[in-house]
């Protein structure tokens, strides 16, 4: 299955990543071959099989509503590339 160039561009936009023309061509091929690989699964007959929502059978895991200590502000911001007044600085998205 061959992905169209516009689809690659749209996927790039969803990931908020700018793609160069060379990258677009490269991903067109790579993503298409990944899809072909997974297309093998489509050959299976799943007519009478219940959908799987989780791979292991555990259920009902919850925790009590008890607050615990949080990280300090400096710890929380330690890996932020840009910060201002205790906030993380980010590009405007509009």
């Amino acid at each position: 299955m061959l992905l169209k160039k516009e689809e690659i561009e749209h996927i790039g936009w969803l990931a908020r990543t700018e793609l160069s023309e060379t990258e677009k061509e490269l991903f067109e091929k790579q993503l298409s071959s990944i899809l072909d690989y997974f297309a093998v699964l489509d050959e299976l007959d799943t007519e009478d099989i219940e959908p799987t929502y989780h791979v292991i059978g555990i259920k009902d895991v919850v925790r009590k509503d008890e607050p615990k200590e949080a990280l300090s502000q400096s710890e929380a911001l330690r890996n932020a590339p840009k910060k201002e007044k205790g906030y993380i600085k980010s590009p405007r998205m509009f």
Binding site: H10, V61, R63, D65, A70, Q73, G86, Y87, S90, P91
Partner: protein
């Protein structure tokens, strides 16, 4: 022209810790990024675990809105990139939410005797709140955004309605009813900033629908929707098509802006959250049903019959659970109709004027204080004006007792001797007005009453003054 409005209401639940981690939810007055941990910051390797109380609260809401609670719930990842979402996805629910098919009744006339309308609830589900973005300036002119993750991971219950609302006013009334119900349940505090946020789907007859996001106040709903209806009508008038799109509501300017989004439902790539497991909830339904208290509609009915007050007063007293409780406490100690009038008509007005909640106000004026004020009024110790003044003073200053204010402001009504003295004086000083009254100019009497009130510094009951004045003048004939 027919308007159809459907709402998606997000309400923060009053749990102590967040939905998937143990960070405290008490962040509203805190510095940014101080109520965060690996989970709500989306750091690699962190494992979310569901807060049991949040699920119970979500079920309580669903049951109170008459929904069918489901057997089991499953959480999903909704994938999109936005700076307020540290993991690149939001944990929410999809095809296994808490509940479907509820019903909320509203009085579309608002207040007394309006026609009742039924608003269908499509579904109720749980999800986590994203972080908060702060802009320097407005959203479309700021150069960058600042991110505070304190809100990230707060438990939200989302309530989705069918497009059954027919006007911006109905949308506001619906939200008021919803707020009231959630507060009755004790799972929500509408006074907290940003506790309720609404997205609205709106379409005009024959047009595509537009979604308006980011409505965060009760007044904002009516304003945002009215703006949007006008905008759509103008497009149609100019022969243009209404595009299906997402718009952002700018609260300060009261307008909606196109978000030029290129995302569609399938782009969210919903899939079951592998870090969370399915949770059986149907076995708790009966237990939670028993925890649901008397709700606004039932309380209103009980108030009208038990206290023989008007529907209007019952409406006004039951909207806010704190006011309803305050009233019941006062009415158990003193005349219930008098209490209804003074709480619904006077106290509520004073609260609105000061923009303070009943919960806040009850720290300054207790039910015992209120009963005392009404008792002084009934016994003729103070006038109606005096009673109002005491309430105002208590709300403004706090920490003062009615007796102190009566004394310090000289509000005690004066004895009849003093009133008569004042009347004699006024009659003597205003012969002209007295003559006018005698020849039939009734409005002269109002002037004379006013003069007596002035002499007594408002401490006399105007009705009484009028009666005495008329008696005095006429006996002189």
């Amino acid at each position: 022209m027919d308007v159809k409005i459907g709402l998606e209401c997000h309400a923060q639940l009053l749990t102590k810790s967040k939905l998937f981690c143990s960070c405290s939810t008490d962040y509203h007055d805190s510095k940014p990024n101080t109520h965060v941990c690996a989970t709500c910051l989306g750091l690699p390797g962190a494992l979310p675990v569901v807060n049991e109380r949040a699920i119970r609260y979500g079920m309580k809401v669903a049951l109170a809105l008459g929904c069918e609670v489901q057997e089991e719930i499953i959480f999903y990842r909704k994938n999109y990139y936005y700076p307020d979402l540290p993991r690149g996805f939001q944990i929410t629910q999809y095809d296994f939410p808490i509940a479907f098919n509820g019903l909320v009744r509203i009085e579309s006339g608002g207040g007394d005797g309006g026609k009742e309308r039924e608003i269908r609830i499509t579904r109720v589900h749980m999800e986590e709140d994203p972080g908060r973005l702060v802009y320097i300036g407005t959203i479309d002119t700021a150069k960058y955004s600042l991110v505070d993750y304190n809100r990230s991971g707060m438990p939200l219950v989302e309530i989705v309605t069918e497009p059954d609302l027919k006007s911006p006013k109905e949308a506001r009334i619906f939200l008021g009813k919803l707020r009231s119900t959630l507060e009755y349940l004790g799972v929500f505090d509408g006074d907290l900033e940003g506790a309720m946020r609404v997205d609205a789907n709106i379409s005009l007859e024959g047009g595509d629908r537009a979604e308006v996001k980011n409505i965060s106040s009760y007044k904002g709903v009516e304003r945002a929707l009215s703006f949007e209806i006008t905008r759509q009508k103008n497009l149609l008038r100019r022969g243009l098509k209404i595009q299906q799109e997402t718009r952002h509501y700018d609260e300060t300017r009261g307008i909606t802006l196109s978000m030029r989004t290129k995302e569609f439902e399938h782009d969210y790539r919903y899939f079951p959250e592998p870090d969370l497991v399915r949770i059986r909830i149907s076995d708790r339904i009966e237990e939670i049903k028993r925890e649901i208290p008397e709700l606004p509609d039932e309380k209103k009915k009980r108030f009208t019959s038990q206290y023989s007050i008007t529907t209007e007063h019952a409406n006004s007293l039951t909207y806010d659970i704190n006011i309803a409780d305050f009233y019941e406490e006062v009415a158990s100690k003193i005349d219930m109709k008098l209490s209804a009038t003074w709480i619904a008509d006077v106290l509520k007005g004073e609260l609105n004027y000061r923009s303070i909640s009943m919960r806040e106000a009850s720290k300054r004026i207790s039910t015992a204080d209120f009963v005392a004020i009404l008792r002084y009024l009934k016994d003729g110790v103070i006038t109606e004006r005096g009673a109002t003044e005491i309430m105002r003073e208590m709300l403004d200053r706090g920490g003062v007792k009615p007796e102190e204010i009566i004394k310090s402001k000289g509000l005690a009504s004066i004895g009849s001797e003093e009133i008569e003295g004042a009347i004699d004086k006024v009659i003597k000083e205003n012969e002209g007005a007295v003559e006018d009254y005698k020849v039939g100019k009734k409005e002269a009497l109002n002037f004379l009453v006013g003069q007596v009130m002035k002499h007594t510094r408002g401490r006399a009951e105007p009705k009484e003054v009028r009666r005495l004045l008329v008696g005095k003048i006429e006996s002189e004939f």
